[in-house]
């Protein structure tokens, strides 16, 4: 599968998929999408990248260990739920606030952070598995 065409095109595909996954994740609250799907797409892109450039390259460009990303996701999601303690509401009550950026209003909320946590978990776990499987294959002559 290591053809020149694939190796050349892969980074582009991966970049597009990653941006798309973030877009899918962020729009999830109003349109089809969300952290789960976004994470899946991102993980798929990592698998593609791994096929094209090898696991070592992927690990280098990821910088963090995929499992650490997943763990961070769990913590982020939990933390998003804990934020409601500050307004003296039960665990995971959502908080919304609106940020004015120039002419548009950006709504931020704790569910958003929660969804980002889900994204990280799915992405991290699946990439970790995919990478581990790929590296297994590579080690064999």
């Amino acid at each position: 599968m290591n053809t020149v065409i694939f190796r050349t095109a892969a980074p582009l595909i991966v970049a597009i998929m990653l941006v798309f996954s973030v877009y899918i994740c962020l729009r999830g609250h109003n349109e089809p999408g969300g952290g789960f799907i976004g994470g899946l797409i991102a993980a798929a892109s990592i698998a593609v990248f791994g096929m094209a450039s090898g696991v070592r390259m992927v690990r280098k460009s990821l910088y963090f260990d995929p499992l650490s990303i997943a763990a961070f996701g769990v913590v982020l999601a939990g933390f998003a739920g804990l934020l409601s303690l500050f307004i003296d509401a039960p665990f995971m009550t959502s908080i919304w606030f609106y940020l004015d950026v120039g002419n548009s209003v950006v709504p931020l909320s704790t569910p958003l952070f929660f969804d980002l946590g889900v994204y990280c978990v799915v992405f991290g776990t699946l990439s970790a598995i995919a990478l581990a499987l790929e590296s297994d294959r590579e080690e064999e002559p």
Binding site: P32, L67, F114, V118, L126, E134, D136
Partner: protein, 791 residues
């Protein structure tokens, strides 16, 4: 409240000096003592925190005479014990941990006696079991310590389960968890058909904790713990929890003939058994452990009698017992510490070298014998006073009491005189006086025994009356007095007890050898029975594991899917779900069912695609083709989702399909992909049948569900509130991250855990054997988590 202090106690974990830590229980003691006036005035402060209001569950605490006496004893003796432990284990490298366990246990015990809600009581009850497990097994490098710890845990936890079930039953019958509310409702329970069961459960709990006759054997084995533990847990606190529970439940469950008979009979047997056991032993700690059993039996017997005098005796005796037993244990520990042995036959003449210890031991022992001017005297008087009747039952119980007390007095003499008086015997270590922290306990407790013995008025008014009133739920009058009445039978009974005690002391050696011969003739004890049961249990568990957990993935899958098929079909058959499908149904119905639904051509196309994918999987010649065909089928499925209004689901399905194909391909490229496994026909038939069964079951279930009207209350609610409450237009996502965020949180944790497990498997099997199990593991796991997340 003391419970508010409990977390504080835990914060002290890991600090090192006994002197510093002793401040904690001392502070609690002073704090609790402040309640004395309130309680004496007849009030009982209650504090409660709501826990699960829907079930009326509260964490609540109550201070009345009874709990106050227990709590003060626990914190008071606890202070001395912590001091003592600081010196006893000085230099031990786990001393900080030990003191931490001790304080944790003390907190649990305080919680137990102060609890008002039965559930709170249960919670702390189990906490005491767990912390005592840690304490008994503290010296975990010794096998005997581990065994003692496990035994205590098993036995007391059986009781704990009894308590939980009993508490739930009581709640079911009366509608309240609060013991303060239960008191007035005793008749509800006593007249109920289930009274016997409730009683049995509570007795089970109390008997296991307080080491009553058939279940007494864990207590001596628990003596493997360091001496401060024995002094605290097994004399003054934990074992008294059962006595406490029985006293607490007296107004609710007590007063019936069954209650009286069981408690008196078992208490009596335990008393005599423990006293005989004590005479059988030569190890100081074992002797004391056996007398503790005897004393517990005595207390249970008294609770069973339930008369005003008997209950007064319970209170006084409990206090007296805590004083002298804790003191004597500390003395035993000091002797062991300084002389190097606890064998009573190898000790003698220590009084010269350890005079202060001797004084402490003597004070405690005199109180245990029940001589005048000690609190033990009043305890004995009270219990005899209640039985000054002429009916045969009273006389029998009285005889048991006198004999039991006499034997205990004999043992007390033994403990007091043998090691300290007589000729000096050479000991393993050259004996000298123990450090002051270790002397404080015996001396203070011994002094307390005397002081309370000299002040009957105070003892009567400030201890006996509130305590006994709390148990009996009526006002009790104190009648303790120091005056000796030489004409009364009472005094002569006491004298008889003392004389018999002296006789027992003189003949101790003869009695011991007689008892030991008897034991040898019997050949087995409750202890060996326990071992037998435990080992059979372990063997049984091993056998079950070998059958169920045989390491073959195939078998696991068969079991899982069989269970799945059963779960589908059993409700279908039992709940009449299949009625409409039976042949008796008219044919018109059938033809209506078999009419093709009105679908667009492209919808038919997708359905066909699904079928094609499915068939392709089944007939695929190589694994790679099978995997790809599975992908076709999954993609078609996601298209169906897309068409019927679930874009989210379709999206996810598609991504999962892609990833599954990719991952499976990775895995299978490590194998030769040209062939499928050759499988014997029986295997094919079995798996095929199971698959068809599950498939049919799911289809039937779905059809059945679809015939019913769709309950749209929930989806209506979500549709209506999604935008105003959660500011989101995508209901699925809103449900996931907002309404059911907690589920999702658990879900992603599971995903992550599964990921870690898969990675671990992969790393472990880097080189050897083709990883077929992993491949099949990954897929179901991910499918399941996806379904759960979207469900």
């Amino acid at each position: 409240m003391a419970a508010a202090l409990a977390p504080l106690i835990h914060r002290y974990l890991g600090r090192y000096t006994g002197w510093l830590l002793a401040v904690v229980p001392a502070a609690i003691f002073v704090f609790l003592a402040g309640f004395a006036t309130t309680v004496n005035a007849g009030n009982s402060p209650v504090q409660s925190i709501e826990w699960v209001p829907a079930y009326g569950l509260n964490i609540s605490f109550l201070i009345d005479g009874l709990s106050l006496i227990f709590a003060l004893t626990i914190s008071g003796v606890g202070t001395l014990i912590i001091l003592y432990a600081g010196a006893y284990l000085a230099g031990h490298h786990h001393q900080g941990r030990f003191l931490g366990f001790m304080l944790a246990f003390m907190g649990a015990m305080l919680g137990l006696v102060l609890a008002d809600s039965l559930l709170t009581l249960f919670l702390f009850w189990e906490l005491t079991s767990v912390t005592s497990f840690l304490l008994i097994g503290f010296d975990h490098t010794r096998q005997a310590a581990r065994r003692g710890a496990i035994q205590a845990l098993v036995i007391t936890n059986i009781g704990g389960m009894c308590l939980l079930v009993g508490a739930i039953l009581v709640y079911a019958l009366t509608g309240t968890w609060e013991m303060s509310a239960l008191r007035g409702m005793g008749d509800v329970l006593r007249d109920h058909a289930l009274y016997g069961l409730v009683l049995a459960l509570f007795l089970g709990a109390a008997f296991t904790k307080s080491a009553q006759f058939p279940l007494h054997f864990w207590l001596p084995n628990a003596m493997e713990a360091p001496t401060p533990v024995s002094a605290f847990l097994h004399s003054a606190t934990m074992v008294q929890a059962g006595v406490y529970l029985l006293s607490r439940m007296t107004p609710v469950l007590g007063g019936t003939q069954v209650w009286m008979t069981i408690l008196v009979v078992f208490g009596g047997i335990t008393l005599i058994w423990g006293a005989l056991g004590a005479l059988k032993q030569t190890d100081l700690k074992q002797i004391l452990a056996q007398t503790t059993i005897a004393s517990l039996g005595l207390l249970v017997l008294l609770i069973g009698l339930g008369s005003t005098y008997a209950i007064s005796a319970v209170i006084v005796y409990f206090l007296a017992h805590a004083f002298y037993k804790a003191g004597l244990f500390m003395v035993a520990g000091a002797i062991d510490h300084e002389a190097g042995t606890r064998e009573i036959t190898a000790l003698g003449g220590l009084a010269e070298k350890m005079p202060v210890t001797f004084i402490g031991a003597a004070l405690a022992a005199l109180s245990m014998i029940g001589l005048p001017l000690t609190i033990g005297y009043f305890a004995k008087e009270e219990m005899y006073l209640g039985l000054m009747k002429a009916d045969p039952a009273s006389i029998a119980v009285m005889a048991v009491l006198v004999i039991g007390n006499a034997m205990l007095a004999g043992v007390a003499l033994l403990v007091m005189i043998k090691p300290f008086l007589g000729e000096a015997v050479p000991t393993p270590k050259s004996a000298h006086e123990a450090p002051i922290a270790m002397l404080a306990g015996p001396i203070v407790l011994g002094a307390a025994a005397i002081v309370t013995g000299i002040l009957p008025d105070w003892l009567g008014h400030d201890v006996l009356v509130p305590g006994a009133s709390a148990i009996l739920q009526s006002d009790v009058e104190s009648h303790l007095t120091l005056a000796l009445d030489f004409t009364s039978l009472l005094l002569w009974l006491s004298v008889a007890t003392w004389l018999l005690g002296v006789l027992v002391y003189r003949q101790a050696d003869a009695i011991r050898s007689l008892l030991r011969r008897f034991d040898a003739a019997l050949g087995w004890t409750a202890d060996t029975v326990f071992d037998l049961v435990m080992f059979s249990l372990i063997r049984f568990a091993g056998a079950v594991t070998r059958v169920l957990h045989n390491g073959r993935l195939e078998v696991y899958l068969i079991v899982v899917f069989s269970a799945f098929a059963l779960a589908l079909f059993v409700p279908l058959f039992t709940m009449g779900g299949l009625d409409w499908i039976m042949p008796s149904a008219d044919l018109g119905n059938w033809s209506a069912r078999l009419t093709p639904p009105p679908l667009q051509p492209y919808e038919w196309g997708i359905l066909a695609l699904t079928a094609i994918g499915l068939v392709a999987v089944l007939i695929a010649g190589t694994r790679l083709v099978a995997i790809l065909s599975l992908g076709i089928q999954g993609t078609a499925l996601s298209l169906i989702f897309l068409l019927f209004g679930a874009p989210d689901l379709a999206f996810t399905q598609l991504m999962v399909e892609i990833l599954s194909v990719v991952v499976l391909t990775f895995v299978f490229t490590r194998l030769r992909l040209d062939n499928r496994d050759p499988r014997p026909f029986e295997d094919l038939a079995r798996d095929g049948a199971l698959a068809v069964l599950c498939g049919v079951g799911v289809s039937l279930m779905l059809m059945l569900v679809l015939t019913g009207t769709l309950d749209t209350r929930l989806s209506d609610l979500f549709t209506a509130t999604s935008v105003p409450i959660a500011h989101g237009h995508n209901i699925v996502n809103v449900i996931l991250v907002d309404y059911r965020g907690f589920d999702t949180l658990g879900e992603i944790s599971v995903v992550m855990g599964a990921g870690i497990a898969v990675l671990a498997l992969l790393r472990r099997q880097k080189k050897p054997v083709p990883p077929v199990p992993e491949a099949e593991d990954i897929k179901p796991k991910r499918r399941r988590s996806r379904k759960a997340a979207k469900a």
